[in-house]
Symmetry: C2
DNA sequence: ATAATAGCAGACATTTTTGTCCACTATTAT
DNA sequence: ATAATAGTGGACAAAAATGTCTGCTATTAT
């Protein structure tokens, strides 16, 4: 469904969100350990999220990644997914055509669009705030 | 969503289904041309579908690929997808964990399972017969 | 029997995704 | 100022997905 990079990106964002609630900045090592991901690769993904202004970073000692508390409930999964995987998952054709639409639909167009729209809606209505609360309350987990 | 191989596999199956309705066997070249896919790669995918007993093949002159007419409405998309992509799309975790379930859910487990189940249901209830009818009636297309 | 057709199997090549390494810059504490 | 910390950027490496080629086997028509 999502690329590996995107999966790491979502996990990392949730962890950083959860830490940001208590105003903690977290370092790369800490993130990679918390979400069980390869450190150097995770670094690349955090850079993408930083450039997309979803998370923020500070260099130097006591530096690290964080999210502005005020933005926590405005950041939803769709922002993270499109920052990393682009919007193929919202716009793409189920059979891989790049010019499939209602005017000239592929064989599974309507069936597919329905699912895709539901996925889109889910991603757009699930915020980092909610997800980080689940983590805090022990209702969900970011590593195994 | 699906791999490229799977997209080709679905398109090819629909084309072969549509031709099988009029008892036509179709050769590799014909399939690749009909669905606008690389010939040699398509060959590999048709072999997978043949081994999975979804489509059938006959060698020699007048040979080619075909589907038994009686099976047409029993073959649904889910069989094709799992033959090529496996069942990750039905069972896999949205965040890539391989032991995520209701007992120890990842952060997006419930949201994700809902979408995944709808996708599964869609794939299980969409048959090659229906899809090939759409093609025959000019309601849908297999290439651009 | 032989030639032509058509799918099969395995090796190979290319591209994309995933993952690593290292030198560099910015920041902070001393 | 300097040393230690922490993110950045670019080059590189490994693995997986996509795509190609070539020779083989099975079938049919003549």
């Amino acid at each position: 469904m999502f690329s590996k990079a995107c999966e790491y990106g979502i996990r990392a964002s949730i962890f950083i969100a959860e830490q940001s609630v208590s105003d903690n900045k977290v370092g790369l090592k800490e993130v990679a350990n918390a979400i069980d991901s390869p450190e150097a690769y995770t670094s690349k993904i955090l850079q993408q999220l930083t450039r997309s202004n979803i998370i923020h970073s500070e260099k130097g000692p006591n530096g690290g990644y964080f999210i502005h508390n005020a933005e926590l409930d405005a950041i939803n999964l769709s922002a993270i997914v499109s920052a990393i995987d682009g919007d193929d998952i919202y716009k793409g054709c189920g059979l891989g055509f790049n010019n499939c639409d209602a005017n000239k639909p592929c064989s599974i167009h309507y069936q597919f669009v329905k699912i895709r729209d539901e996925l889109k809606h889910m991603l757009e209505t699930t915020s980092l705030l909610t997800l980080s609360e689940d983590i805090n309350e022990g209702l969900a987990f970011l590593r195994r």
